[in-house]
Amino acid sequence: MAAPTLRRRRSGTGRRRAIGWLFVAPFGVVFLVFLVGPLVYAFYLSLYSQGLATGTVFVGLGNYVQAFTDAKFLNGVLFVLVFSVVLIPIQMLVSLAAALVLDVVTTRLARFSRLMIFVPYAVPAVIGALMWGFLYSPSFGPIGDFARLFHTSAPSILDSNLLFGGLLNVVTWQWAGYYMIIIYAALQGIDPSLYEAAHIDGANAWQIALRIKIPMVGSALVLILVFALIGTLQFFSEPKMLTPMSNGHITPSFTPNIYAFNLAFSYSQFNYASAISFALGIVIFIAVYVFLFVSRRRGRIL
């Protein structure tokens, strides 16, 4: 038993350092095996190519050259980029507005609303997409009902130019509540004395929201935006589930992840699929860093 000592022990002895590694090690193993490993293996695979009529051949970076000149991949990237640029502001607007309103109103309806708005997060994306697919259907959903009321024919949302809007709606529905709760929790952390000071200065509720609340939850907003961006660029589950209902509008290369999936599991082109996955990862890294740079909050996040 060591004698009590006045020496600061925070800088750690060798034994303490080893213990630190011990705590981190289990996660570290999983990290190496299931994150670093697949990344390395994917890169290795992506350097080869296998044809149906030929064997496996080393092609170096040939797959990447092909990927970045592949119209299917590039169109998929364009789609998810455009989709993100349109979707994320809409999601943020809805979540922010809801959180701000809920911060002010404290009736029972408000508490109930807070819960109900969050419920879609508990619904798996796959099932949410399925439900909206039915709702969009002119025969299964209420849109057909409304159209019949007005004696017009219902538009087939998934089978037309409205597909973009249809998907926007599904994703907003799924995630707005989750983001709202995060913003709401951040709002709860603001010192109310700020509001009192603002009232004394004559500010009304709108001005308080704009000038005080939003800036104070800024870092939470940026965090959400980054995760929303990463998630949306990986768009997969909803369009995959809705493909049968889209009469071919959701193509096999609709998003880069869907393209990679089909390359691997429909056409058995695992090498090229790995290259596409890597290429998507590169696109996401670039997009996130560009975004962080533009929002100039790099320092605060890390």
Partner: protein, 308 residues
């Protein structure tokens, strides 16, 4: 301004109620309530549709008597449920069980790993700590779905595809959970407490369990909930690594039925659409109940991630 600088560290609960009361004394805020009502209707409508649709039979689904948002004249819910649970030898219940197993095993496992690693990062100063942590942060940005295909390839090399481990093992990876735990522990577990325990002769393990862990509970619950929900909702990974339908989680199972129903081939005398709709209803109920029951925990917990 001092007020703003102190804003984040001031006590959170003081004055909240006072502000609320003050504002409530003003106009009745009809606009805000209407807005909230619209949101509630929007967010609940699909669930309402699923409830109504689950009470209809195939004919009612395709050509119901009262439109699509209200009940048909035949109330078929019990029959639909019976059909759902007996279709194809009761595989639906199997799928539900699988989802629960993956979610709990994967979620629990991921949480344990995240808690341990977060504690290690926060409270021990070891060589390579900052490098490892930076690596961790970078990995949060790696699109996890981009890992699925090479993970499949790796698993197939060791003949682990189409087993439960193919889903559970990759689900143990939760870098964001480690980040959350590290942030929380750094704030919530004071070094002095740990030192005091060590001075009293406690080993590292006992220090962790007896002193540190009780202080981490809100964050642990948050990470646990997020991990469980994430694994329960996972679609891409199990779709890629599983091919036996008996191992499917509910997400992949319903996807399989949707493919069958959409394919232009006879499925016998059962219209799969009724089973799919009813199956969707039953699949969302567990998580919704869990969320409603545990709201106290996650509502507080999600604050941790947003505050820095």
């Amino acid at each position: 301004m001092t007020a703003i600088a102190n804003g984040r560290t001031a006590a959170r609960s003081s004055g909240r109620a006072a502000t609320g009361r003050r504002i409530a004394r003003r106009r009745p805020q009809v606009g805000a309530h209407v807005f909230l009502l619209v949101l509630v209707v929007y967010f609940l409508m699909p669930l309402w549709w699923v409830i109504v649709a689950s009470t209809k039979d195939a004919h009612g689904l395709f050509a119901g008597s009262a439109g699509t948002l209200w009940f048909d004249k035949n109330f078929h819910l019990i029959q639909n449920l019976q059909l759902l649970f007996t279709y194809d030898q009761g595989i639906y219940l199997r799928w539900l069980g699988n989802s629960a197993m993956y979610a709990l095993a994967g979620g629990l496992g991921a949480t344990i790993l995240a808690v341990l690693a977060g504690y290690g990062f926060a409270k021990y100063d070891f060589q390579g700590r900052s490098f490892s942590f930076a690596l961790l942060l970078g990995s949060v940005m790696v699109p996890l779905t981009a890992l699925v295909i090479p993970t499949f390839m790796m698993l197939s090399q060791v003949h682990l595809t189409d087993t439960v481990w193919a889903v559970i093992l990759p689900s143990l990876l939760n870098p964001f959970g480690v980040y959350l735990m590290r942030v929380y522990i750094a704030d919530a577990v004071p070094d002095e407490l740990l030192d005091a325990a060590r001075v009293d002769g406690a080993g590292e393990a006992r220090t962790f369990f007896r002193v540190a862990f009780p202080l981490m509970r809100p964050a642990v619950v948050t990470v646990l909930l997020l991990s469980i929900v994430g694994t329960w909702n996972n679609y891409f990974l199990p779709l890629a690594v599983l091919s036996s339908s008996k191992l499917f989680p509910i997400t992949v199972g319903l996807g399989l039925w949707e493919g069958l129903a959409s394919s232009n081939s006879g499925t016998g005398t059962v219209s799969l659409w009724t089973v799919i709709v009813t199956g969707s209803l039953v699949a969302v109920i567990p998580l919704i109940i869990a969320f409603l029951a545990l709201q106290r925990y996650w509502q507080g917990g999600l604050a941790i991630g947003s505050l820095k």
